[in-house]
């Protein structure tokens, strides 16, 4: 006869309220909803562009609503949160060994931030923002 197995009751829909660390994890998970929705918006934008000048310009006009501004602000916050946590994690995910020593984590993460700024400035320049 075996003893009763230990069953840990984990509430499937509210477990993340148990620890602040879980809440931080879930808040990062939620950013995927906004980023995913934004990617779908990008596909629709490209579709409008492929349909011609008229439909692309009505797409641009459709973006200019209060709801769209709110969505963009939320998506921007989500994208920034994703980016910073992603770059902060690189030093754990990709250890670089040079000879006997490991490259300091701050160097790896810092390099990503520098590259991020460079890419962003190039994209803004190409888009003619400056």
């Amino acid at each position: 006869m075996s003893r009763n197995p230990l069953i840990r009751e984990v509430p499937p829909a509210s477990w993340y309220f148990r620890h602040p660390r879980y809440l931080r994890y879930m808040s990062r998970e939620i950013t995927s909803i906004f980023v995913g929705a934004y990617c779908v918006l990008l596909v629709f934008g490209l579709g409008a562009l492929a349909d011609g000048k008229e439909s692309y310009e009505s797409f641009l006009l459709a973006l200019q609503s209060p709801l769209s501004i709110a969505f963009h602000v939320a998506a921007l916050i989500a994208a920034l949160y994703h980016a910073t946590t992603w770059f902060n994690a690189t030093q754990v995910a990709m250890k670089i060994q040079i000879g006997e020593d490991f490259l300091p984590g701050s160097t790896i993460t810092g390099a990503h931030y520098v590259l991020w700024v460079v890419i962003s400035v190039i994209v803004l320049l190409l888009a003619g923002v400056f």
Partner: protein
Amino acid sequence: MAQSNKSNKPVVWFPFAAGGTVIAFFIPVIVLLTLLVALGKVPAGLSYAGLHGWLANCVLAKLAVFGIVALSLWSSAHRLRCTCFDFGLRIDTLVAAVLYIGAIFGSIATAVFLFRL
């Protein structure tokens, strides 16, 4: 019956990791650009003439846009699948099928749109 030991995880995981990096580097600045559009200040590069000129004449720009959109879609689909599971939606096979098919469909649509330019 011989069972394969091979896992399909790397196939899902590689585009996910690549997509996470692409999202981190490119999506914030792209959101910033369309936020400017939403605020009524359309940057020159996002006007029809500007964007169409870039994408229709430069194959490299097409490839870059396809890479960014397709990888971001795939990565988002994978992350949304995990998010659904973590929020207690325990029908993983269905969720995974819907999201991955959506991502593949979106990627194909992107390729078709870019090809038509």
